[in-house]
Structures are given as structure tokens and as C-alpha cells.
Symmetry: C2
Subunit: 422 residues, 2 copies
């Protein structure tokens, strides 16, 4: 038994939109443990949709469609499916009522176009759309073949999937063996170095452990197959524990954690506050820190010292050091961190100064050279030099700089906590 | 004649990665005017790859593969294609040399695994990969069928597409009728209001005009089909001119322009400088401004005044106004803008204070209420109130706030330029 995803829409063939629906459904099928071997994209064309259905219905038992459920003439999915299986369409009064009610709430009247959305194949169940006007269907046009259709709008598709499709699939005995995963997140170690450290784990089964790398961070996904989430979690927990032991401080969190949210929790736990001084990141570090709701408790703000005059005036960087060492130097990074900490009166000050490029590099100070400064209210000041490379893009260097700054603070917070409790 | 995209990789079926390669190739085919009716995704499984090739080779004349070219055992694309068409593989010494050289540059030695990447079907041309180790092929296994293979890594795939595949396709007489598009960008007008204003244009042919909306901005894509880019540009220019006349200041730019880059150009043109004061955006406005290389000429920096104490200490916001009107108020926004302008000595000061949520809202000041302040060195200070709505997410409200702040400054810069020249 396997499922197949078929996304209908000429806009996908033109490259106007990214097919995020296919990724969502693929993840969902994997989590439910429903095998899935093929995905297709086809335009709003009845003959080609029929050809796709002919192929898919021979090799898969669950066909999941997205797109082509709207009210306009190029929305053809339902009518084409009915035609392919030789089943007539019939108007469903409950859909007319539902659309009329939803439109009335927005002060609009249902149009003649919308009537089309109430035409479903005889024998198909309505897959209710609680958000938008386009309902889907759950339909067994012949034994051993189930068709589910969803609108192309991701929010509607996802809600209908969770609310209706998942309970339906489970009621049919599919997805009883679910796959539950936990993603451990790492910073400051390469994928190959981590893979070497945890090599024995990469061959194991249930849970499996697989390394990934993207956006500059490395992840280990620990996936267990079990009858329930609780059972899967119990399989994952000891492996997660061992992996964390091996990785030590390189593992910064799991699942929805970000470097900024983990730093935030550690600051909260130690009742500490933070200010930032940013040069080449131009506000990106503050932006990351304030993604977390409630961050104002520990993040007080900072100074974007893009121009050198701001480093001198607001951060008390010494003009002599700026002149002799340059704005991108360890001493300026340290003075920026100490300066913003002093100015805002926080526990910690964190600074970034670097050359993001594409211009401004030299032999001694190439593009990608970044200094991160860290200052504590007890007088501790330090800095870190990084060379993110001349081949990386400006925005990539800026992103790595902000993440790495957070990571340095994170490691210092771990150290100071272990000192305090040790 | 039509092309078909086939993406190979179990990671796509697991939903681990988003299929951005398919979107890129779809856009490229549309630009080249090469019809494209189907896309498929299939896992790293020889039998299923063969089944996919069997179907695609019957209905399309150009098959474009991504993925499965790497050195590991699950990279099967080339061997499976050779097997399907009954053609033997042969080792290409020039590939062994190329990989050896690339590895030596990074101080590594070629592994036995890499030898596999030099095995190509007899009769296939090498599709050179100037970045990574995995070459592709350009192959006509039978008359009227051309196969192009690319690695799954997007940067390598894109470079090979541009450098080798596009010239090859053109040399074969495909893509002679290209589609060239220009995207006009708008801020401060809804998609439906814009569509109404330009309604007569939406029905026209060559160039066609189509509205889009995403990330809070509205776009009009003007697309012309012609034999050359110059010819297409000539078709687009008069329509673009008319659309801009109709839209006025709501049209902020085109193609790669961003609100920040357009503001930057206007500041440069008027030899003006800018400082920002950010509360709820936490640095996001500065981050946007500094995406543009060379922005330090006009953007000097700013203050992230997340905590109220920073508003008072660094921006001279009056504690009485903070207490009486609250941090999210017109007067505080104006004082922040004037304060940061005074402190940094720039021509303009731009500020944002608002409630990004999800908590912190009240009946009188709901989540989504944002004030933007703007101050000029001549003493001009103003503010704008926005209600971005309680249903929007924290990050969405923050994004809209930063963009809207840039848009207000942009409109003021247009006004002051027209005053100066008028």
C-alpha cells in the first residue's frame, strides 16, 4: 500500500510558485508511516490530468491531489476525476449553504461560479474545508483506490489535512505505525566531524539517526517507528541522551529551538540581560533575538554602529584604536561590546564587526573576516576571530556572523552556569 | 516539442527538502519558451526511476533530471538511465582528472567512490560542473530524445544550467522564442485595488500583464514573447511606462529592487544620511537597509531601543510621555526618530514602535498597532499610525512594520526631490 501526491496547477509549471504543498504532504506521510514513492505536477489541462491519474492509479492505492478546486474555469480537478472514472457529478446542497454562509460573513454574495464547487462525484464524501470556500473529496471510485483532494492554498490544505484527512486515514487502518522524529541541532561543528563522532549511530535502526546540514547548522534527525508517539518518544530518548553526551556543548537544542531562543532561556535562567552592538550585521543580531516573544525581559536593545562615528560617540570606541587597528579588529569588537554593555547597563554586551563584502576586503583583512566581542558586567571582555571566507555571499556572511555571536554567548552562559552550580 | 523535469531523491519523498530545483527549472523553461507539461519526483530506486523514464520518454522530447549524481551508492541516476536505454558505461579520464584537481585544491584526495562519477553512458557528452565534483550528461539515447542531468545541489545545478545547458538548448534551435518578463513592484496598495486601476491591461497579449501578491507586496509581471531580449524589452517598455503613470508613487521599483535599495538610491541622490530607532522590529529595519552593499555611505546606524530605559537614555524620549502615552504612541515614535537623528547627526531619523504580539495587546492598543516616526534635520517631524491586525503573526507584523517604515521615507524622499527640482 502506498500513496502518491499529484499537484495540479499551471502556475507550478511556470515556476510562479514553489511546491511547498508537496513537501508538507511528504513529511506528513512519512510521519504516518505511509509509503510514498512518486510525486507528480501537471497543469490545468484535462487530458494531461487524466493521463496522470491513469498512471498513478495503477501503481498507488491512495492518490492525494492539491489544486484545481477553485471556482474559476481553469479549476478542473474534480470534474476531470469524475470523467476519468465515468461517474456523474451531482450538486451538494450542503456545500451551497456553506459557501453562502461564509460569503455572508464577509459581506459578499455567492457568485454563479461558486456553484461549480458544489458539484462532486456521486458517491464521494465531502472533505470539509473549514476555512475557505473550496471543499475537497474523499472518494473510493473503485476497490483498493482512495482519492483525497485539497485546495492549492497551503493554509486551507494543511488545516483540512490535519482536521479531516489524518483521522480518516487512521480510521482506515493506515498510519497506525507512525514515524516520530526529533531533530538535534548543532553549531560550531561540521557535518563530517559530527558524523565521524557519532558514526556507530548512523547504522542503527529504530530509531535511525541521520545527519543533515543547512543554513550553516548541522542537525541529527532521530526517527522512531512505533504504534504511538509515546512509544516512539521512549525509543528516541536514550539515543538522544547518548548523542548529547558525545556532542557536548556543540549540541545547542532540539526541534523548534533556535540559537536565539536557547540564549534567551539561558539569560532568563541566570536573570541576566543583554545588549548588542552591531556593525556588519546592521541589526540582524537584534532581529534574531527579538523573534522570540517576551524577549524584552532579557534583551534590552543595542546600537547599530554602521558608521565609525557611531562607534566612537555611542560605544566609546577609542578613535586611536579605530585609526590604528581598523574598525574590523579584536580591540574594536571588545570596546564595542563593553561600550554597549556600559551604555545600556546590562549584564552582557555582545558585538559584531566584520567585512561582509562583496567590496572592502584586503589581503590582510579579506571579505569574511569577522570579530565578535563579548563583555560581562564583572569586567570580563573577550573577542573571537572568524574567517567565513571570501567565496560566501554578503548575506551568508552576515547570517553566520549573527549565529556565531549567539553561539559564543551561549557557550559562555553554559560555562558561567556550571561555575555557579559547580 | 516539450520538456519534462524529473527530480530524483528519497529526501524529496520524505519531505526533508523543498523542491526549489523544480521551480528554478520551470521558470527557466518558461523564459526560454520551451513548453513543459509534467514534473515528477521519484526516490533513489532503480526500478521506479526506470518506470518514470519509460513514461516521460514517451510524452516529452527533453528530459531534465536533477539529483542522484553523487559518489555514494544511493546515487543511481546515470547508471539507471544507461541500463534503461541498454547502453554501457565507460570511464572518462577527463573527469577523473577534474575531480583529482578539485580535491587537491582543497587538500583532499579523491576516493574510490568518486571513480563512479566518471562512469558515463557511451555516446553521452559531459555537462561540465565547474563548481562541484559531479558532472552531468547531455545525451541523445535515441532520435528525438535529449536527456540532461544535473546534481541536486541547487548552486551547482543553476550554474551548470546557465553555463552549459542554456547555450546547448539554444544551439539546438530550442528556446529561440524567449519569454522576457519585468516585474513592477508596489507598496501601499492592495492587489485588488491595483488590479482595478490597471484592469484594461490584464486582458492584453504580448506583453501580458499579471498581478501577484506575496510577502505583503503587490507585483505586476509584464511578459513579452519575442525572438530576442531586446525585442521583448521594446515590447515591454511602453506598457511599463503606462502602468507606472497610472500607479504613481505606489510603484516603488522593478525586478531586483527592494524598498531598502530604492530608499538607498534616493538617499544617495539627495546626499542625505539616515539613522534608525527600532523597538518592536529589534534591528530588522537596519538589517534590511544593510543588505545593500555600500549602504554605509547613507546608513550610519541606529539604536535598538527594545527596553524603555534605552528610549530615554539614548534617544531622549521624555519619561513623562512614556508614562502618559505609553511606549507605543505617536509622540514616542516622533521623539525616537528625532532623538536618533540628533544623536547620530544624520539628515533623516526613522523610528518604529509597536506591539508585535502575541501578548501585550489591549482593547485600546491591540496587537498589530504600530507607530512609525520620521524626522528631518530641518526640524520636520511626523508619525504614522498603522493597524496590522491581531490575526497576523509576530514576525509578519515585524516585517510589515519595517517595510512600511521604508515606504514612508521613500515617499518623503520623492516629495522632497520634487520640491527641490520643482
Amino acid at each position: 500500500m502506498s500513496a502518491e501526491i499529484i499537484c495540479v496547477g499551471t502556475e507550478l509549471l511556470l515556476g510562479d510558485i514553489l511546491n511547498s504543498n508537496a513537501q508538507f504532504l511528504a513529511q506528513q506521510l512519512a510521519q504516518l508511516g505511509i509509503p510514498h514513492y512518486y510525486q507528480s505536477v501537471v497543469g490545468d489541462n484535462p487530458a494531461r490530468i487524466q493521463q496522470t491519474v491513469a498512471i498513478a492509479s495503477e501503481r498507488s492505492q491512495i492518490l492525494i491531489f492539491t489544486g484545481g478546486l477553485g471556482p474559476t474555469p481553469d479549476d478542473l480537478t474534480i470534474a476531470t476525476l469524475a470523467d476519468f472514472f465515468g461517474v456523474p457529478l451531482a450538486e451538494r446542497p450542503e456545500i451551497i449553504e456553506d459557501i453562502t454562509r461564509k460569503y455572508a460573513q464577509r459581506g459578499r454574495e455567492m457568485t454563479a461560479n461558486n456553484r461549480k464547487q458544489a458539484l462532486l462525484p456521486v458517491g464521494a464524501e465531502i472533505l470539509t474545508n473549514s476555512v475557505g470556500s473550496a471543499p475537497g473529496i474523499i472518494w473510493q471510485p473503485r476497490p483498493n483506490l482512495t482519492i483525497l483532494t485539497f485546495p492549492g492554498v497551503p493554509t486551507e490544505m494543511k488545516q483540512m489535512w490535519q482536521e479531516v484527512a489524518v483521522p480518516y486515514l487512521k480510521s482506515q487502518g493506515w498510519g497506525q505505525q507512525l514515524i516520530h522524529s526529533r531533530t538535534l541541532r548543532f553549531w560550531g561543528i561540521t557535518e563530517s566531524a559530527l558524523a565521524e563522532k557519532v558514526a556507530p549511530f548512523l547504522d542503527r535502526q529504530n530509531p535511525t539517526v541521520a545527519p543533515y546540514a543547512n543554513n550553516g547548522e548541522v542537525k541529527l534527525r532521530v526517527s522512531a517507528r512505533a504504534a504511538s508517539e509515546a512509544e516512539a518518544t521512549a525509543l528516541i530518548a536514550p539515543v538522544e541522551h547518548q548523542l548529547k553526551q558525545i556532542a557536548g556543548a556543540d549540541c545547542y537544542g532540539a526541534d523548534e529551538d533556535t540559537l536565539a531562543s536557547v540564549v534567551g532561556r539561558a539569560l532568563l535562567a541566570s536573570k541576566a540581560t543583554l545588549a548588542v552592538a552591531e556593525s556588519c550585521t546592521g541589526g540582524g543580531l537584534g532581529q534574531m533575538l527579538t523573534v522570540t516573544p517576551g524577549s524584552s525581559v532579557y534583551f534590552w536593545g543595542g546600537v547599530i554602529s554602521y558608521d565609525n562615528s557611531v562607534k566612537v560617540e555611542l560605544l566609546n570606541v577609542h578613535p586611536d584604536d579605530l585609526a590604528q587597528q581598523g574598525a574590523v579588529s579584536a580591540i574594536v569588537a571588545e570596546q564595542m561590546a563593553a561600550g554597549v554593555r556600559d551604555r545600556l547597563g546590562t549584564t552582557w554586551g555582545l558585538s559584531i564587526t566584520g567585512i561582509a563584502g562583496p567590496d572592502g576586503g584586503s589581503d590582510s583583512k579579506p571579505v569574511g573576516l569577522v570579530y565578535i566581542g563579548l563583555a560581562h558586567t564583572n569586567g570580563y571582555v573577550t573577542s573571537y576571530e572568524h574567517r567565513f571566507g571570501e567565496l560566501r555571499s554578503r548575506n551568508w556572511i552576515r547570517h553566520l556572523s549573527a549565529c556565531t555571536a549567539l553561539d559564543h554567548l551561549r557557550r559562555q552562559l553554559i560555562l558561567s552556569t556550571s561555575r555557579a552550580t559547580g
